[in-house]
Symmetry: C2
Subunit: 541 residues, 2 copies
């Protein structure tokens, strides 16, 4: 009897046969991402408890079958549910979906990996809570833990997700369980409120790694501010980006702006409003900068389009508006403010609104409303449709980019919050994508006072033959060029995990920790991991 | 020839004979802390460069002599320069004292371990920088890196020091060097601005640990706010603490207060104003609560005395004052605001000031001025004198608590920012210290929106026979009682490092990482480390 046969039998005993699947259809679905992925999956396991997760891991060690844990697996653009290495069993944690603890006064919630952002949002509404969560722009079906451990981000003052979690419960590759920070102590009163605990802080080890399976953590929430207002700045000239970044950095540094600010280029905005304009383009791709100028004109958006929230007391928000106006006064573009009240008013009376405020919101409301929602921690389904950008089909009621063979490859380099540097990065991306025949859809997120995450989307149709290969080529050039320019990513997709070199001492540290925690190498091989062989190739290249 | 003889010869070659000391006087000084410490030191090494640090480590491995690194060694109350284990060579990093990089626009400075907070403060003044640093209440001679890696804290919005550093350069126990976060990549543009880099984040591993020697890191700084004002709240009743904590937490959660708030009890304040009142006490100790009531009366301070800064634009600070007044309106006590301008005015015209504002500042100015300074990132020498509390001698011009045999033992448990919990902790501390014959000097720091660090000082005179033993006994009871109450520390002194138990799985993770990074166990044995033997004893106890 082979290892896999024995493993399947033991897993079935551990979690129940109905939660171990080897159906070829299910496996094929799980092996499908939004770009070409050769990796195969041997089985899908769905444990329902912590103990079942531990037992799955023990079986994997005994039978030497690697496990690839996913929370919700909605990692579109970075690899969806597909493991970076071949022949893993997928450990699907969706059944661990309990909100374990909630504290209104201290502002936190403790969740399992299957808890989605939509679920937490609904939970807070049902409780009549005054707390706001932070949501990512991805689907409401996304796992909170999955996103936090990938160090994803959202739109509120708590936008840097991994910076606002603590007390990780981790199943180690040997099947043991630990808790991190103050949570490791029996009966600790600060398990959900203390960031560091005492002694070495291990939290960071389990983010973007294959060192453990996070089965629970605490997420900090913010009280709804007394006042909130959204701002939108339309940057009219391409060279307005650099000064805009420098101005916004200054406002972030001075704590006048307190949340992550998002800046989308024209291509990104168009992709958010509609699918590819096949007719206007007579079926040709990509949309040239000249052609894009017409769309900007027609649909009234800028080269660069910044949006962010103002949070605080009524007086603080009023003052922030004044200072933002002042700071952007001599920038070429248009600054608009939008409060939730104004928005709902605008929706009801779009025409009257236009007369009153001389601002035609009708076109933009559709785009703007979910953005304002995100600034208030409201998950949205609207962004997912943009994955269908180059598809000839309309986005279905329940979008599924994997199933519908949407082509989406993301690369997310960082830059310091300096205009010149960000401009260099976006210029590089635009040049590469256009030359390779894709629209350079770029969003910039000022994740902190000092740093910007740049998400570059290579969006295409997997049905068009040759496109998968072209997209990969474009992605790989992007990785190589950015690295050579010192612009390194904040996060990796499964395609880029072995495309970034590391010096040998650093590699030895990671390898040493991996060997200590996972002697049999059964947990997510290749995840944020580059083999020494591959590393040599990269360095020599 | 013995290992130590060979090691000394090789170290002398590595750093120069003048930087290797075995003088018995020097060793005796370095072996002296502010409480009884039996550990002996075999030599003191003072490398001057990164390469010399690496060579010292390689020699230690070859000759199997453990190294104990210190930055400035001003770890008073927690063990000063004394290693937790016997027969280490002290690796004194004071000669690595360069400010390597400075960036005004992005608000950061990159420093070596020998750079003190006083040095950085002077550097910023000399540059005419608009940036503020965060300073701890300890001496200006304290190392910035030493404090950050111990996860110490200060008084500004950047009060949680380890939360505002990145890009660690670390000499590993095998002599290799790595950099963390984005700094690990050649030519990375975000080495000093990106918090996480990509892949597992290792920064936390090197804080409060013996996994590596931090030889450089980047510290983020804040722009001087447009407006700043200090507030002081004198809490008139002992049972006013709980509601005060709850009110301040609410203001912190709502981001109206943005910095760490400090709350000192009456004993702590008295110790900050003067030495032990031997005459009034007719030579008796400790000061009873009844007697303390008289001092509160005479010197006009409260049971609990809160202080913090308001930072932001003029409008923001104005609004914060309004909201703070409102929030504390029905608390029994007195709220005072003090701007730097008012303070310098008050200093010049203390009497006139009293007439104008009906507030006698003359007595408190001496105490208040350095506190306001700390809120603005100005290091102070004033707090150090409090280490001489029970001494009969006056604090000398250049205070040195180790040399002058001041008795000072600190224990720093954390609590969630909930009144009842904090009251339980302070009550416990007060009961234990008074019973053991010490003044319960307690300071509370609201380090974040959700957590409070409580620093309990056992202050005594090492010249008085039997006091060392009584202090240790008191400290150990404090550790045991707090742990059994679920109140665990944010930081450990060398006496408590093996007094806190851990579950075996967690211990195995730490041991595994230690073995991977330090196979010969030559780096700071016993630092934030409990042996499995000792751990069993603790669990059985």
């Amino acid at each position: 009897m082979s290892n896999i046969t024995r493993a399947l039998a033991e897993w079935a005993r551990a979690v129940g046969p109905e939660f171990v699947s080897t159906r070829s259809e299910s496996l094929a679905e799980a092996e499908t991402a939004t770009f070409a992925t050769p990796q195969r999956i041997v089985a899908i396991l769905q444990p329902g408890t912590l103990e079942e997760v531990q037992e799955c891991v023990r079986v994997a060690n005994r039978q030497n079958i690697p496990l690839y844990p996913i929370s919700s697996g909605k990692n579109w653009g970075y690899g969806s549910r597909v493991p970076p290495s071949d022949n893993c069993a997928l450990l699907d944690l969706r059944r661990l979906n309990h909100i374990v603890e909630f504290n209104e006064a201290l502002g936190y919630v403790t969740v399992e990996p299957g808890v989605t952002q939509g679920q937490l949002y609904q939970f807070l509404r049902d409780k009549g809570s005054n707390l706001w969560m932070d949501a990512t722009g991805s689907s409401p079906e996304c796992s909170l833990i999955g996103n936090a451990m990938e160090r994803g981000f959202g739109h509120t003052p708590m936008g840097d997700h991994f910076l606002h979690v603590c007390g990780l419960q981790v199943v180690l590759p040997n099947g043991e369980v630990i808790e991190t920070g103050a949570a490791r102590f029996p009966g600790s009163t600060t398990a959900a409120t203390g960031r560091w605990g005492v002694g070495p802080s291990l939290d960071g080890l389990f983010s973007q790694s294959n060192f453990g399976i996070v089965t629970r953590l605490t997420i900090w929430l913010m009280p709804a501010p007394e006042a909130f207002e959204a701002f939108f700045f339309r940057c009219e000239s391409a060279d307005g980006l650099a000064p805009l970044i420098d101005t916004l950095r200054d406002l972030r540094m001075r704590d006048i702006l307190r949340s992550s600010i998002h800046i989308a280029n024209d291509y990104k905005v168009l992709g958010g409003i509609q699918q590819y304009p096949w007719e206007e383009m007579n079926g040709e791709t990509p949309i040239t900068p000249e052609k894009m100028a017409e769309f900007r004109q027609k649909l009234t958006f800028g080269h660069w389009n910044a949006s962010g929230g103002l949070y605080g007391t009524t007086a603080q928000v009023k003052d922030a508006k004044r200072l933002l106006r002042k700071a952007l006064a001599d920038h070429k573009g248009a600054l608009k403010f939008l409060s939730p009240k104004t928005l709902s008013f605008a929706k009801r009376y779009a025409r009257a609104f236009k007369l009153l405020f001389r601002w035609d919101v009708s076109r933009t409301i559709e785009l703007v409303e979910p953005v304002v929602g995100l600034m208030m921690g409201v998950p949205t389904t609207s962004t997912l449709e943009s994955a269908y950008w180059r598809k000839r089909m309309k986005p279905p009621a329940t979008a599924d980019p994997d199933r519908d063979r949407c082509g989406l490859l993301w690369y997310a380099p960082m830059a310091s919050a300096q205009g010149a540097e960000v401009e260099r990065l976006t210029g590089l991306a635009q040049e590469i994508l256009l030359r390779q025949g894709f629209e350079p859809m770029i969003s910039l997120t000022m994740i902190s006072q000092r740093a910007v995450c740049c998400v570059i989307s290579i969006s295409y149709d997997r049905e068009v033959s040759g496109e998968d290969e072209r997209a990969n080529e474009c992605h790989d050039e992007l990785v190589a060029r950015c690295s050579s320019e010192g612009l390194y990513p904040y996060r990796l997709g499964i395609r880029s995990m072995d495309q970034i070199s590391q010096d040998s001492a650093y590699g030895q540290v990671l390898a040493g920790i991996k060997a200590a925690l996972d002697p049999n190498g059964i947990l997510a091989p290749g995840r944020y991991e580059v083999t020494s062989q591959r590393n040599r190739e990269l360095i020599e290249a």
